[in-house]
């Protein structure tokens, strides 16, 4: 029965109590914006939580309200698709610190002004705490699965490790258990680009009508390169020139790859808040699941009852296969049932979002159990 997914369009839940954060502070009146697809079974046991990546949002399989584009994982989530909304009740929530409806630095603080840099520094585990509070409110004690790619994979790992009774399975795509020096370095370039933009104004730009769009665009451009493979960029653009026959001996976007990156940067600023970018990249840099568990990654999974499936991609140099293997070895040491495969795909880190038929088979098979 190929019907359109039943959508509860963009609900927002205000958490009933304060959210305790890793930094020691707490946040009152936290909003969590989410979308849900499909029907929750009477036993409430068919829920799949999908966690989104750094610049993602809860528009998982429904059109984005700003860009009008299809949901970011519409190819994976829907009736008859690998995450089948005819079978599963699929939930996706905007992460804490973001800017699409959940509480973040652009939200109003109790004094009625935007938090800006007064927003507390958050962690991946804090995001997961907000997700779990949402599950509590929805009356879902145990997920059939938690699923995520990239930063979504970090959240899936964090949920399985810190709330072991809340998920029967965790599907972790193109992720890592900790940010490497190189990962942190790329994020720092992005943050410095934002903070070097005079329009940033120490993060207090919301009332000025002048946002740090140039800095945010540069941050996005730098990050976007890390999501693609060298071979992918070469195949798509090579050294092709943009709408011209000759180099101009100037600094216009002579090359197609420059024009593409500029477009990626500028269009990103239409839908994303620069301070959110600072806070979420910081949360990713702070992520070290082993450190949270006494320095041994296997300890993170000692009490989990979940099945795990990890997938890496051979052209992903942001979170390469070795990072997934590291997690797999820890899960083995903890005795958890784990599946792992490195898939071959040309698109680099972004492969988990794109057309990779082998991934569809893996997701279908893993969620089917």
């Amino acid at each position: 029965m190929a019907t359109a997914p039943t959508t509860v369009a963009s609900e927002t839940l205000t958490l009933p109590g304060p959210l305790q954060l890793d930094c020691g502070r707490q946040l009152d009146r936290v909003d969590v914006a989410y979308e849900a697809y499909g029907e929750l079974s009477p036993a409430r046991d068919n829920a799949v939580f999908v966690a989104h990546a750094l610049t993602g949002d809860h528009y998982l399989a429904s059109p984005h309200p700003i860009t009008g584009k299809p949901g970011w994982w519409a190819r994976m989530v829907g009736p008859g698709k690998p995450i089948d909304t005819n079978r599963f009740y699929v939930i996706c929530a905007n992460v804490l610190g973001s800017c699409m409806g959940s509480t973040g630095p652009a939200s109003l603080a109790p004094d009625g002004k935007p938090y800006g840099m007064r927003f507390p520094v958050i962690t991946i585990r804090d995001m997961v705490r907000a997700h779990v509070a949402l599950l509590d409110a929805l009356g879902i004690k145990r997920l059939h699965a938690v699923v995520g790619g990239s930063m979504g994979g970090m959240q899936a790992l964090s949920l399985a490790a810190n709330f072991p009774e809340r998920a029967s399975a965790a599907l972790v795509l193109a992720a890592t258990a900790r940010h490497s020096a190189q990962n942190i370095a790329f994020h720092e370039v992005g943050r410095q680009a934002i903070m070097a933009d005079s329009a940033w104004q120490d993060g207090d730009y919301y009332a000025s009508g002048n946002r740090p769009e140039k800095g945010l665009a540069v941050a996005r451009m730098a990050a976007h390169i890390t999501y693609l493979s060298e071979a992918g960029l070469t195949g798509k653009f090579g050294r092709n020139l943009q709408d011209r026959a000759e180099k101009t001996f100037g600094f216009d976007a002579d090359f197609q790859v420059e024009s593409y990156l500029r477009y990626q940067g500028i269009s990103f600023t239409d839908r994303f808040d620069a301070n959110s970018y600072l806070y979420i990249t910081r949360a990713m840099d702070y992520f070290d699941l082993a450190e949270e568990h006494g320095g041994y990654l296997a300890n993170a999974f000692r009490t989990t009852k979940a099945r795990f499936c990890l997938v890496s991609f051979d052209t992903d140099w942001l979170y390469p296969t070795a990072e997934s293997r590291n997690i797999v070895h820890a899960l083995n040491a903890a005795g958890a049932p784990v599946t792992f495969v490195e898939l071959s795909a040309p698109y680099g880190h972004d492969s988990f979002l794109l057309e990779v038929p082998a991934l569809d088979r893996v997701v279908t098979g893993f969620l089917d159990q």
Binding site: H329, F340, R361, V362, F366
Partner: protein, 202 residues
């Protein structure tokens, strides 16, 4: 015996019938997961696998089998001691870089190990080398020397002497000729295929 067990490759069928029901099993080099699926579905085992070929791993995952893409030569070291009741290595020993180390690893991870391999001393192999003067290409060893994954050919007698040297006990053994079981008598000459159930000598 259930049809699912008899439709397995003959050596896998022998292994499946001799694993205790409900056991924890690691199949190293599990291929497309046929044995794992039979162990899970017919014997109620907690059956997990390791496989080097990503296409095979994807097929296993699609069947709902927990399989890790990995290399026996490198990745067995990451399993804790005695984490399984059985470790299985079917038609893989002769492809590994360090077969003796692999045997020790299997018995460290599983209390007992099933190991099966094509017997390089089978009379057809001997005749092929004796009269052909070339590396044998037979039904069980179908690939020429320069392309075969079998880098450590082994005979039944060679294997027994390695077990003696390492203090590994044979609990049981089976020998196949064609798809039929054959006696242990003169197995080194007559068996195309050998299957051993091993444990550490006390």
């Amino acid at each position: 015996m259930s049809p699912a067990l008899t439709s397995l490759r003959p050596d896998l069928s022998v292994i499946a019938q001799n694993v205790e029901p409900g056991a924890r099993v690691l199949d190293v080099g599990c291929g497309d997961g046929a044995l794992l699926a039979a162990l899970r579905d017919e014997r109620g085992c907690d059956a997990r696998g390791m496989e080097i070929d990503p296409a095979n791993v994807a097929e296993c995952v699609a069947k709902g089998l927990p399989v890790i893409q990995g290399d026996a030569d490198e990745d067995l070291a990451f399993y804790p001691d005695a984490s399984f009741d059985y470790a299985i290595l079917s038609q893989t020993l002769q492809t590994t870089l360090r077969p003796a180390v692999i045997l020790e690893e299997l018995l460290r991870i599983g209390g007992r190990a099933f190991v099966s391999f094509p017997n390089f001393a089978h009379w057809r192999v001997r005749l092929s080398l004796l009269f052909g003067g070339r590396m044998p290409v037979t039904r069980l060893l179908p690939v020429a020397w320069y392309e075969t994954p079998n880098i450590h050919h082994v005979t039944v007698d060679d294997f027994r002497s390695l077990l003696d040297e390492r203090g590994i006990a044979v609990e049981k053994s089976w020998f196949l000729n064609g798809d039929k079981q054959t006696s242990a008598a003169a197995a080194n000459f007559r068996a195309e295929h050998a299957i051993f159930l091993l444990s550490k000598q006390r």
